[in-house]
Symmetry: D2
């Protein structure tokens, strides 16, 4: 494979790791999309077990904060990988293992109604030690449910 | 029942709601302890599906932020109920339905290793509109895994 | 005066209050711009007394967090005033006196070098009780120095 | 001087730097106390220019966030210095120059009334790269005005 193919193939490996090898992601049914495009997003289908308010039937805040934390980490990771031109799966996995969340803030804006939710984000700044990201969660009507800010050690 | 018995019985009703009627709590196996003592805590047993880092086997950050958000809300709720002397189950449930998380911050201090985790918290200030709480997550060796701060609408 | 003139005039009164009647704003030399346009911003000229790092000469983090807190509050205030169609100076002042910061998060992205700084922001969501805003601080080269998120009681 | 004297003398040098050489600290009249005890605190006297609400006369939120950011940084710094046994003034100054605030959260609990304010804090966790601190601001009646949490690069 040439370098572009290696990079593309390595994103497929990473996506499978994020979706299948992280038990809590698999438990929530998180799908990682657009990873190889440099604009990673998460997609989850609403499930009965995600409900917080059993009268109203909306998404539990804990699912929201989880999705925002995860997308923030992946967005920071993709930014570092692209900046440092890390191409192979092994090198990407090694980089990922060095990263970790320092802290996040989550702002709950609206009740999480919907049949599907999309988490997205972008990097505000990546330094040698720390990346700062902003994250958003939309439902399938493109309504903004929650936002977040995260700081991540970049390794 | 006299007033004390009503209050005690109402806490049992509430605990069952928190544990059994909130689907995401039930899915995580959250147990609510010391609710009637005015010092509510959450207890969860480690499960395979909670793992974030499949190499190291530690608790996923999303589970951590969820537990801290939930205990913050319960701590704020108990404080409001006690301040306003809300005794019956129905009145407590109505009060709970009016509350909601405005925002939380979570600081991840150490990898979440352990077979059991305890989330606790306390109220910094309850006003007419907003309560502010601090939360902590310890493992079964009493090691501090994460802390949080939350702001909640008190209804 | 007709209603439009009253509203315009009332913004002039408010701007003078923000700049002249709030002692700490006056002490920092904060100028409020675009208030009547619905897109308020703060402008401050760098001053010797604002320096944090005396070797490097950059803006102190405390000035940064102050500017972000202030612009967040003003952005929330303008949004509430426009939504509720509050036109006179007196009604605006009364509304302002009911508002207050619940909490803010500030992310320091780059050292605050520059001869002038502009703080801007926008509302993510205004409810009946709480408004959530995002804020940014740029220097005169339009470099993003810091961002923030704030929750405000809207009265 | 023996090692203990060197360390004690170096704290005096540092305190003078914090109070006199950081222009914004000097402008606010910040006094650093208990630095050599390993329990640093800030003390500031109320001043007319610190007022936020000119009707009520309370401390501006920007002064509050500034004091909490500063004490968080100093608390993190003292912890690192003690852990790494950094004794001379020059080594301490070099360490301080490597540190910086990643982000802070400030929760405003009560209006800042008082003639004097004390900012204190403690370290939740110091790692190789990041320290996390909690901070508090009390007035001279020992009333808790505000709390904060900060993440700092430790160099």
């Amino acid at each position: 494979m040439n370098k572009v193919d290696v990079a593309k193939s390595s994103w497929n490996v990473l996506r499978e790791i994020f979706e299948e090898s992280v038990p809590f992601h698999k438990s929530l049914g998180i799908k990682v999309i657009n990873l190889e495009m440099g604009e990673p997003k998460l997609s989850v289908d609403m499930q009965d077990k995600f409900v917080g308010n059993f009268v109203r039937g909306n998404l539990h805040g804990g699912v929201i904060s989880c999705l925002l934390d995860v997308i923030g980490g992946i967005v920071a990771f993709v930014d570092v990988v692209n900046r440092r031109d890390i191409t192979t799966s092994d090198a990407k996995i090694e980089q990922f293992s060095k990263m970790g969340t320092i802290d996040i803030r989550v702002d709950y804006l609206r009740p999480g109604f919907g049949s599907k939710f999309i988490a997205s984000g972008f990097v505000l700044r990546t330094g040698n030690k720390v990346a700062v990201t902003r994250m958003e969660l939309h439902n399938d009507d493109n309504l903004l449910i929650a936002v977040g800010t995260g700081a991540y050690v970049v390794g």
